[in-house]
């Protein structure tokens, strides 16, 4: 069997039985990347020499000992580039490890490679990368989703055993759905954001992309926990996120939010998700209808709050202390204005301007404060729903992967692609996307994602519910032909 096709946990088992070694696994992975990444375009760079020396001395008794993990280009790894796929950070080298990287290293894992994304995580297709195009491994003429498009594509294409991404409005779950892998957005505060370049600080959360639900749980075991360097990380008791894997679904209640099953969903996506719901019933779960009445306002609330926070967070990119600086400068104002105007891409500028406007004098109450109040109502919708059910079940994305270039001229239409994922970030709870079938488009099979949403801090239960379905269906074993 080719080593690169293994899941994280199967690879780990082979290390421990002595069938293979971290060095062999790394070489197999590199061979695979060299063969298919020219088509997929998931990686921006790889530091093979460093990974080789880490693999040679890896301690396989550690929880993730010797396993290479690919990293979205927005999370700092000391000595690696970190550009957020932006020209403004070209040439930037991280001088420290993010907390998640420190935790991966302590668990024996090898951070390997930088993954393409939408610039500063702003986008739903990875087309906003200023550096490179990434394709969907199932159909190279289509987008991989975004913003963590590289993170999803490399796992789906067996170019990584697992990867890290970040999710501000669906940026883990949506590309996972479109590429056919498992993507987990933990509860806000579950995973430290220290060393993640900030987009919207009250919404951003780091999470894993994996080939299986079990691998997702194993990674969360390592990534989660209170961090003194992130004052918004939560103090919670240590727990084992694999503890509900393998449990049956008797007594489990799943809620179908009626606002998530209305017009606008692609018929093939709808059919795959409804078949998954029937499968849950067959496994013994009870399905009930629930309501999240403020769903239709989520996209509007999100694009006010996320852009407002982004306009403040991205003020730091001014060409003074790091990043790209414009040349032939007249004065300090010129330095700021030209470094930013030349360095930021179009979508980033658009969002900074929108965020600046909604926070500007005279408009704050009408836009930002009102959006924060509607955010409260959206949170309450979820609180009420989770009083009745263990998890919510719905599509991750209303459609399968669209063609590269199809949406790039219409930002509003692109924003509406996140309609089923955004409310979760506003409410702060956890969510997972896992494969539930395929849509056939122009003779190609395109993955469809099932989204399960869990209550705050109920990742273990959510992973258990996801695992039961995964193990009873063949979808997670399917691979694209590359």
């Amino acid at each position: 069997m080719d080593l690169h096709t293994l899941s994280l946990s199967s690879l780990q088992a082979r290390f421990r039985s002595g069938e293979t070694t971290p060095s062999e696994a790394l070489e197999a992975l590199e061979t695979r990347v060299a063969a298919v990444d020219p088509k997929v375009g998931g990686y921006l760079s790889r530091n093979l020499e460093r990974a080789r020396s880490e693999a040679a001395t890896a301690d396989i008794s550690l929880p993730l000992g010797g396993i290479p993990i690919a990293i979205k280009d927005v999370i700092n790894v000391k000595g690696d580039p970190c550009t957020a796929a932006s020209k403004i950070l070209q040439g930037y080298t991280s001088s420290y490890d993010a907390t998640v990287i420190r935790k991966l290293r302590a668990a024996g894992a090898i951070p390997f490679g930088r993954l393409n994304m939408d610039e500063f995580a702003m986008g739903s297709s990875t087309e906003n990368s200023a550096l490179q195009r990434t394709s969907n491994p199932w159909d190279l003429s289509r987008i991989p989703g975004g913003s963590s498009g590289g993170s999803a594509a490399v796992v789906a294409a067996d170019e990584a055993f697992a990867s890290l991404g970040s999710d501000t409005g669906g940026s883990i779950r949506q590309p996972a759905a479109l590429c056919g892998c498992v993507g987990l957005k933990p509860t806000y505060g579950r995973v430290s954001r220290f060393g993640l370049m900030a987009f919207a600080s009250s919404l951003d959360q780091i999470g894993p992309f994996t080939k299986t639900v079990k691998d997702s749980a194993l990674l969360l075991n390592v990534l989660s926990g209170k961090d003194p360097l992130d004052s918004t990380s939560l103090e919670t008791p240590a727990e084992d996120y694999t503890r509900f894997l393998g449990r049956d679904l008797k007594g489990v209640r799943l809620g179908m939010p009626k606002e998530y099953f209305i017009g606008g969903i692609d018929p093939q996506v709808n059919a795959a998700v409804r078949a998954a719901i029937s499968q849950y019933e067959a496994l013994g779960a009870e399905i009930v209808e629930v309501s999240l009445p403020h769903t239709e306002y989520a996209v509007a609330v999100y694009y006010i709050i996320a852009t407002a926070e982004a306009s403040a967070n991205l003020a730091r990119y001014d060409g003074v202390r790091y990043g790209r600086r414009a040349e032939d400068l007249r004065n300090i104002q010129d330095l700021y204005v030209r470094s930013r105007s030349e360095g930021f891409g179009e979508e980033v500028k658009r969002r900074i301007i929108l965020g600046t406007y909604v926070l500007s004098s005279g408009y704050y109450d009408a836009y930002y404060l009102r959006a924060q109040k509607v955010r409260t109502l959206i949170r309450q919708d979820f609180e009420n729903a989770f009083k009745k059910v263990d998890a919510l079940i719905c599509p991750t994305s209303p459609e399968a992967a669209f063609k590269i270039g199809d949406r790039s001229g219409d930002p509003l239409k692109m924003y509406l692609a996140d309609i089923f994922t955004i409310a979760t970030n506003l409410a702060g709870n956890c969510g997972i996307s896992l494969p539930c079938g395929f849509a056939e488009m122009e003779g190609r099979r395109l993955p469809v994602g099932l989204q399960l949403l869990g209550n705050n801090l109920e990742e273990a239960k959510l992973l258990g519910i996801a695992h039961a379905y995964e193990q009873s269906t063949p979808w997670h074993k399917e691979r694209p032909a590359l």
Partner: protein, 94 residues
Amino acid sequence: MSAEFDVRHTAHLARLELSETEATRFQSQLSQILGYVEKLKEVDVSGVEPTAHTAEFLNVFRADEPRDWFTTEEALSNAPRQANHLIIVPKVIE
């Protein structure tokens, strides 16, 4: 409200300079988005507290103790121009 949106003025507040093409395109795209978010006016928010953060954090303190952190060289390692442990910028005061 969106009728008053002036893309150039707002870009200036964010220290961005737009080309003619960008200004025209953004003016129309952002006006459309501002039109879309007008739907929030339909919602009755009387008596609703705003949410800034989903977890309820009060002040988060830590002990004020020195610890290992960047060296000066590390902190300046990405500076576009530097000399003598200082970052060089154009003259700030004319």
